[in-house]
Symmetry: C2
Subunit: 146 residues, 2 copies
């Protein structure tokens, strides 16, 4: 059982908690790669457990797969990520979190004011500013304060 063992998709699924179908989907999207056995079955690198785990963490932070793809693409191609790589990416995630916290804090502040003054003129309220939203969203789900 070498550290460089090739593992089948089911094992990868069990180790990461992802569904097998999700991993196949990620592969299709180019987030992981695999080689095939003679019988056309996928074999992943053990290090892909880390790679997928990273994806899961980044998702928790609200990043979409496209953004995650970009982060991961910043790694030298084909190279298995090193400690330093992960640290760099993690730091960039941290700043993501920081921004989100700030945004939420500002929002809470505005909400406090709204409650405080009981203004009710929501159409003039800072919290909800028509101009801010103009053409911002597009279709699809709207993410937290984005």
């Amino acid at each position: 059982m070498n550290r460089n063992d090739l593992i089948p998709i089911g094992v990868l699924a069990r180790r990461t908690g992802l569904a097998v179908s999700a991993i196949r989907y990620y592969e299709e999207r180019g987030l992981v790669e695999s080689i095939r056995t003679g019988g056309n079955q996928r074999r992943f690198l053990r290090s892909d457990i880390r790679r997928l785990s990273f994806i899961l963490i980044a998702q928790k932070l609200g990043l979409g797969l496209a953004e995650i793809e970009r982060e991961l693409a910043s790694l030298p191609k084909g190279r298995t990520p090193t400690v330093l790589d992960w640290q760099r990416i993690s730091r960039s995630l941290r700043s993501e979190i920081d921004q989100r916290i700030q945004l939420l804090t500002r929002t809470r502040h505005k909400l406090e004011e709204c409650i405080g003054c009981g203004c009710l003129s929501l159409d003039r309220c800072q919290l909800y500013n028509k101009e801010d939203r103009a053409g911002a969203a597009g279709p699809g789900p709207r993410f937290v304060l984005d």
Copy 2:
């Protein structure tokens, strides 16, 4: 131009910044109601501007329409929401925000530790805990730290 004027959907759209189609969709979902003119056109209450604005704010906080529906349903039926109603709901929104901030803060903390120790054993990392996620998500978009 009375305060109790009935307004057509286009005006409501302009005042809230929503698309006409979105308002119709909200009506279908039961988030707003309208009466019809002889020619089958919708007429809304002026106070629906507030109602829709509230929906927009709640969405910013990451609530889904179903949750918002629940909040709004807590209002005495048919009654135009009063200052007190809005304050009560707003306060419940505030606690939503608080929880989100706390969750983010905890996550950042864990991430700090990860960076600090350079552990890389993400599959054991606190940040990403298989058990935490087990059966939690389901399909559809995943919201921030939800």
